[in-house]
Symmetry: C2
Subunit: 557 residues, 2 copies
């Protein structure tokens, strides 16, 4: 029995498997098709923005891979390694500590790319919300509701402003779609809150170029989107970029600071680390293939979708990283693997994009078909819905989405959160120069460690700020309030752009009780600081903290 | 303006606010009604089991509190303190570090109880899944799918057995409902997996008494449920209890060990810590009130729902902690607060339960009405659906649930996970005597710290196990494989029941790089262990570990 292993459960992988199933229908006893996916579902990305907006149910945009691929062996696991010499793929363990190895005869790599803010400038990694997966969509929706709930009961005008400002970076395709949905959602949502005035809400779109969707659509449609968004209350800042994000503000390339608790960035699509690591020729992180989708320099390894640089036959171009191309490549790949197994002639990849569409919410969209026909407004929206609905995999998915749309017209939306998330033990934070981390009198909830940068500890008496210490790399602060359940007795401000680690109270407690040396370290710091009359540490009764002092919402995650 | 503050957004709190809104309709300029809830939604618990089973959508069982209560000020926050002297309630911070204080004229405490395994015996706290909130339901559903996906590709028969065994503790009301839904779900689900044989699946219900629903319903209905469940493949173990849970098995009171990765416990309902802390008279953690719902010994403080011990007028009884009573108490409370404000006569609480019903899945249920009429099977199920549907708050909720039920009949179910959860930095684990924590050759993913108990480190050569060390409280192991991305080079077994802390690789890395003394500690251990020829530690190049060595699924949560 020969094995065809597909890595990745996105558009490219799923469609490749679908066509392989059809072609190998009569050869099922000789060929096994295997698909490895991180999730047990396929995400239909064009509809994720509707999940955020709530016009679709949370699971409406995803389909069970098993239901789609009845004759494929599905492995739901993370991939930890691809060995091209041994011709095996290693999968990470789950429930047990042993990994799993699959050998292959043909390998199709369709791992897409990853949203990765790590290579982005200051703080985007820690504080910008991404928008790529179902998880991102749920997280974003929860965050929006969380911010509105907090703003509704906030008295301080500054904090209200920060909570009610939404910054979206990137005016390309998904940026325009998501800014439209966020804007509609928060403005509709605000009506439910008697304490929020619509004029308090600010939605800002930041774009590098001087017009929207400049890469994807013609200037007239970009202009249409721009006008429509502005009419609905979106501010658009052209020719600038997000430079940095902190828990309190978005900082732009030109130095502008926008106080905001919600920063969404659609920009970074980085190569999948698994693909990057392979000893194969790459073009900006994409595997180079010939026009038959065969990876250069190695036999029986194929690549397709966003992780592959596939030349289009009879043209000088490389396929763009879009779903349309991924689907067509899946079809071509299936044909070529089949041909290669049976010794018949392979076909080169050739395809011309049919068109591009972007939804603008509120029953408006923009579309460009065959590079010629331009549509905008309601007709484009009808087309958008119809085309994407018809492309949904399977009848049951189509029915579910159809029902959701009908329900959405009949029943008013409810803004409920989906609290499935657990707070992380240790969080990375980025603050900009001049920002305040906490103030005297605040609640102590985290211990902070300076990873990079400098902070100053300020005591405030008689309304004067007195600098009592400067802390740098490797030093920590905030442990006192945390241990004694007291309020902060000093203010901490950043002297430079600063990277911090924040450890939650209960995790901190667990560490200190279990590592003797760590306890000693805190004792030493305490002595030192009290000698310097810097009373920001007080570690004495660290061991008196009983479990009951930890608030229940933290204890239960 | 006087303030009536209700704490808690469950049945008691929501219905109290609803009736207060009606009664104070003409007095809105004089009285403000405030409700504080942890979530911005109200969970309709009777339908949570259907969410797990998938016949309802994920958000179908919850309603927006704001949509239900249009004239109440809603605070979505955790409560950190109730001060009966100052007459204020303090709410925990969110987004900012400052807390929020609300003063009250009347305080109605409706905080319910909490699922709290901490007081339960060994390991239930760490490894048993609860079933009370929407979050629990989503977590359970995800876990079931996760287990099935893992079993589908597992080769080891022992591990398969463990993955495909589901243990439910507690044969009361919710235990019976959830065991029925889990059993239906996993057996239906198994059909989608060609590699899972139905006979491999084991669903075990464990009950303390000698018949099901012994507290709630008559023996004949208990017997009916028992027969039905057994017919559907559930094993029922009477007269025993869950004693302990580990990542690998459920251990019963009589010493029976059932290998299982899924242990659900419905048993513990503990007093809310906020209520327990109040200096007020309590009956097993419930606030004692008079029959007017007034808390004994203090003015203008009221209690209702599961957190209150409310006597039923003209009877010797205390209200049972059920939704029916909570709703009725909400109505009575509203009336009495209104009477107290206007100086009219208050009413004592009186109510007779209408009946009890439990759904058994697959269109079967059991019901007992007015303590006389007994129903079982399909008629009881129709009654169950009709009654609970009619009690759903609001028309839009009714429509959504109705639509979901229709869709469920028309469209086959899809088993997709909802991956919104982030893995916790530090996890507590409980292992029983004799269990293996990891084996030589396993993948290194966690560092373990012994909190209590003893483990032995075993080296295996020539198929012989040689004990190389015994570790106890405060000692740790497993760091070597973790740092070098190697496989485990020793096996670790428990000599006693053992409590462990497991720290994930990347969190461990973060700690070690940032705390100098911790690094030293590891260095010392390494030396010591290598002197003893116990090569379970190897810390040398701890600082060489670059971010890229951390697998991406951990990095991105």
């Amino acid at each position: 029995m020969k094995r065809i292993v597909i890595l990745g459960g996105g558009f490219a992988g799923i469609y490749a498997a679908t066509y392989l199933e059809k072609l190998f229908k009569k050869h099922r006893d000789q060929y096994e098709i295997i698909l490895v996916s991180r999730d047990n579902y396929f995400t239909y990305q064009p509809m994720l923005a509707e999940v955020v907006a709530g016009s679709l149910g949370i699971l409406d945009s995803v389909s069970s891979i098993r239901a789609l691929l009845k004759h494929t062996t599905i492995y739901v696991r993370e991939i930890s390694n691809i060995d091209l010499v041994e011709r095996t793929v290693t999968l990470s363990p789950n429930f047990h500590h042993t990994d799993l190895r699959i050998s292959y005869d043909h390998l199709a790599i369709a791992l897409g790319n990853v949203t990765d803010f790590r290579k982005s400038p200051g703080g985007l990694h820690e504080h910008a919300l991404a928008f790529k997966t179902l998880k991102d969509a749920i997280k974003l929706r929860n965050h929006l509701i969380d911010v509105m709930e907090s703003a509704a009961i906030e008295a301080s005008p500054e904090i209200r402003k920060q909570l009610l400002t939404f910054v979206i970076g990137g005016g390309g395709f998904s940026g325009v779609e998501i800014v439209a949905e966020i804007n509609d959602l928060v403005r509709l949502f605000a009506k439910k809150y008697p304490t929020i005035i619509p004029s308090e809400i600010r939605v800002v779109l930041i774009h590098k170029k001087d017009r929207l969707v400049d890469k994807e659509l013609s200037p007239s449609l970009g202009k249409y989107a721009e006008k429509l968004l502005i009419k609905r209350g979106v501010e658009i800042l052209f020719n600038t970029e997000l430079r940095s994000a902190t828990p309190q503000e978005a900082i732009l390339h030109d130095g502008t600071r926008i106080p905001s608790s919600t920063i969404v960035s659609t920009v970074p699509a980085n190569p999948n680390p698994l693909v990057e690591r392979l000893p194969l020729e790459q073009l900006r992180g994409r595997l180079i293939t010939d026009s038959f989708l065969r990876v250069s320099g190695i036999d029986n390894v194929w690549a397709l979708g966003d992780c592959a640089a596939v030349p289009i036959h009879n043209s000088e171009q490389i396929s763009p990283p879009t779903a349309q191309f991924a689907v067509r490549q899946g079809k071509c790949l299936a044909y070529n693997i089949y041909a290669s197994c049976l010794g018949t002639t392979q076909k080169p990849f050739t395809f011309k994009a049919l068109g591009m569409m972007a939804s603008l919410g509120h029953r408006k969209a923009i579309a460009e078909i065959f590079g010629k026909i331009k549509l905008s407004g309601f007709p484009a929206w009808v087309l958008w819905r119809f085309i994407y609905w018809s492309k949904l995999p399977g009848i049951s998915r189509k029915m579910r989405v159809g029902f959701s749309w009908i329900l959405d017209m009949l029943v008013p939306q409810e803004f409920v959160q989906l609290k499935a998330e657990v707070h992380n033990g240790i969080t990375h934070l980025h603050y900009a120069k001049g920002e305040t981390i906490f103030r005297k009198g605040d609640i102590g909830d985290f211990l902070y460690i300076v990873v990079d940068g400098k902070v100053e500890i300020l005591d405030i008496s008689n309304q004067k700020e007195i600098q009592v210490a400067i802390l740098g790399k490797g030093e920590y602060f905030g442990e006192m309030a945390l241990l004694k359940q007291k309020k902060r007795n000093a203010t901490v401000k950043c002297l430079e752009d600063t990277e911090l680690l924040a450890i939650r109270k209960n995790d901190f407690h667990v560490l200190v009780t279990n590592f003797g040396n760590l306890r000693e370290e805190f004792h030493k710091t305490e002595k030192l600081r009290s000698q310097k009359k810097v009373a920001i540490s007080e570690i004495g009764d660290i061991l008196d903290l009983s479990q009951n002092d930890i608030p229940p919402h933290i204890r239960h995650g």
